[in-house]
């Protein structure tokens, strides 16, 4: 569809642009043309209104002869012919209009007077048509760049989507292998405990599957996921693993991306507790402050212990997910001091009510 007809606002602006042209045409007909001012305006206004629409037809030849891919002869022939046809029609319309006006008082000589100005009118018609051709090419360029921009936006949105999908936290397979090994040990020595561990492991896995698909979950749900994870690890590590929690009641309903904290706790176990002969503790602190959620995971570790595999992979993934999701609105700081390791993250609070009032675009991106 013609871009000017697609929006009423654009059409009005276009027609307003023809008002000075109608004035100029009236001047041409009156001063060099010999018509009275009344006659000149009576002819120029309807003619320009008509021609405004005729010139809109230039859109189609412009579409068919794109500037960058058309030969010069083809370009000249197309628009030259277009100008001649359009202007010819215009002149014929002018003569028809003159005859219709001839009956009114003060317009008796208009047919004769106008017939002298027909070459002038024809020339003007050609020029105006060519002007319209130029205008339509500008319009085409604007349209093209707008489309390119939209495509780029779309592409970057898709890329970010893909990134978020790729970054979706996954359960560390070695956690599974080790847990299965523990279950295998228990089947002989303590079958009831083996069954319990199977059920705990199943519970944890089911939760990760269900939650992993959601864009965000309340902190309380993430915490119960962590508890399911710790229940399994507790069987493996026994007394060596101690967990402390200090979570603000107001923080519990704040929304977080699923499986954001579980990797931090797992990291604290693998690089902290598991490396200590007598075990150690993990502390999770969460609070809401000034519309932000602040979470810290701390653990003791052996600064002189052997290096572990996958060092930092889990942390990097959490940092990247935060960055992709919230950009500069989030922060991620990992620090080691003495035998204390600490990861502190902050992210904007998105509780249930805040999300409901979020703009539609944002909600679309989340889902």
């Amino acid at each position: 569809m013609h871009p000017l007809l697609a929006q009423l606002r654009r059409l009005i602006f276009y027609l307003l642009g023809w008002i000075p042209l109608a004035g100029m045409l009236a001047y041409l007909l009156a001063v060099p043309g010999g018509l009275t001012w009344w006659q000149a305006f009576a002819v120029s206004v309807p003619l320009c209104l008509l021609y405004a629409f005729v010139c809109m037809a230039a859109w189609y030849p412009c579409l068919a002869t794109p500037l960058e891919r058309s030969s010069v002869p083809r370009f000249l022939v197309t628009h030259g012919l277009g100008a001649i046809v359009a202007s010819g029609l215009w002149v014929a319309a002018a003569r028809l209009l003159a005859r219709m006006l001839a009956g009114f008082e003060g317009f008796h000589d208009i047919v004769y007077e106008l017939s002298k100005d027909l070459p002038l009118l024809f020339g003007t018609g050609v020029l105006l048509y060519l002007l319209a051709v130029g205008f339509h090419y500008v319009l085409l360029a604007v349209e093209a760049s707008r489309q390119a921009e939209a495509r780029m936006m779309q592409a970057s949105l898709l890329a970010r989507d893909a990134e978020l999908r790729a970054l979706k936290a996954q359960v560390n397979p070695h956690f599974l292998f080790n847990s299965l090994n523990s279950i295998s040990a228990l089947t002989a020595s303590d079958p009831a405990k083996a069954r319990e561990m199977c059920i705990l492991l199943g519970d944890f896995l089911r939760r990760t599957l269900g939650l992993g698909e959601k864009p965000a979950i309340p902190l309380s749900e993430e915490m119960s996921l962590i508890h399911a994870f710790l229940a399994v690890e507790q069987i493996r590590y026994g007394d060596r693993l101690k967990m402390e929690e200090s979570i603000d009641r107001t923080a519990l309903d704040a929304e977080v991306p699923p499986l954001l904290l579980q990797p931090l706790v797992e990291n604290a176990i693998v690089h902290g507790v598991a490396n200590l002969v007598a075990g150690g503790w993990i502390r999770l602190v969460a609070q809401r402050r000034d519309g932000r959620l602040e979470i810290a995971v701390e653990n003791v570790f052996d600064p002189e212990g052997p290096r572990r595999l996958r060092n930092g992979v889990g942390l990097v993934n959490v940092r990247q997910r935060l960055e992709a999701r919230y950009g500069s609105q989030s922060s991620f700081v990992a620090s080691a001091e003495g035998d204390l390791f600490r990861v502190a993250i902050t992210l904007p609070v998105q509780s249930e009510d805040a999300r409901a009032s979020a703009p539609a675009v944002l909600k679309e991106k989340i889902s």
């Binding site: 598991a274 002969v277 052996d302 002189e304 052997p306």
Partner: protein, 256 residues
């Protein structure tokens, strides 16, 4: 390492998880020829027990507190046959490069376990050739590329010292051993100076002599010493001989 037919295979289990040790204990209990002499929950304990008990066979976890499995193997040497047991498959190549008998993945299956034990018995009865190189040389050879040592474990009898490389002043070759000088003490380790050189970050440590590697941060100055030869003077005032090739390397480094 060849055993007489009637002797039991003295076996040690090293894993920081009680349940993981339990699986191995259960599998081993079906074999009358196996005697479990020790179970260890960390690397230090493992080295200590190995030094005292000289086991024939060691089941060794890799990721443990204090020392990882490779460090333990490096310290107990090739006196014992080693089977690694871990949840990670990424260490397999490294494990065979240090001539581990086998590499078991957790969860450990009975069939796979029996096959590994069979291989261990063959090795111990002399049907399989023993490791041709000392284990520590192999450990150095099997280090992942682009990754230099950040700590050196050293054994003295049944106790273990960890020397962070930043605290190593210099190393001196002494026959089959290197003497590692750190914080005013010297620790002997059975290793060639060349393999130690290969394992250290070349931008921090330099071989200045056939018998010496020096921590470049410790070098205060280089002084001529007689005709055509030099000494490196450390911060402590100690002088180390510098060979002609070593001097060229040192110059090239200092000019950089």
């Amino acid at each position: 390492m060849t055993l007489p037919e009637d002797r039991k295979i003295r076996t040690m289990i090293v894993d920081d998880e009680d349940l993981a040790r339990q699986v191995l204990r259960e599998f081993l209990s079906k074999h009358a020829e196996i005697e479990i002499v020790a179970e260890c929950a960390n690397g230090f304990q493992a080295v200590k027990s190995a030094a005292e008990l000289k086991p024939d066979l060691v089941f060794l976890d890799i990721q443990m507190p204090k020392l990882d499995g490779f460090e333990v193997l490096e310290l107990i040497g090739s006196e014992s046959a080693v089977i690694f047991v871990t949840a990670y498959d990424t260490f397999a190549i490294r494990a065979f490069e240090v001539h581990a008998i086998d590499y078991l993945l957790k969860p450990v299956g009975a069939t796979r376990f029996e096959a590994a034990l069979e291989r261990a018995k063959e090795r111990l009865s002399g049907k399989l050739p023993p490791a041709p190189m000392p284990a520590m040389e192999l450990a150095a050879a099997a280090r992942p590329p682009q990754q230099y040592l950040d700590r050196i474990p050293v054994r003295d009898g049944s106790s273990v010292f960890i020397i962070p490389v930043a605290k190593l002043d210099y190393a001196e070759a002494q026959d089959d051993y290197v003497a590692l000088a750190s914080q005013g003490k010297k620790h002997l380790k059975q290793q060639t100076i060349s393999s130690l050189e290969a394992a250290l970050d070349p931008s921090r440590f330099l071989r200045i002599h056939r018998s010496y590697i020096v921590n470049l941060e410790r070098v205060a100055k280089i002084e001529p010493y007689g005709k055509d030869s030099y000494v490196a003077v450390l911060n402590t005032g100690l002088q180390l001989p510098v060979s002609r090739a070593g001097h060229a390397r040192l110059r090239a480094f200092l000019d950089r």
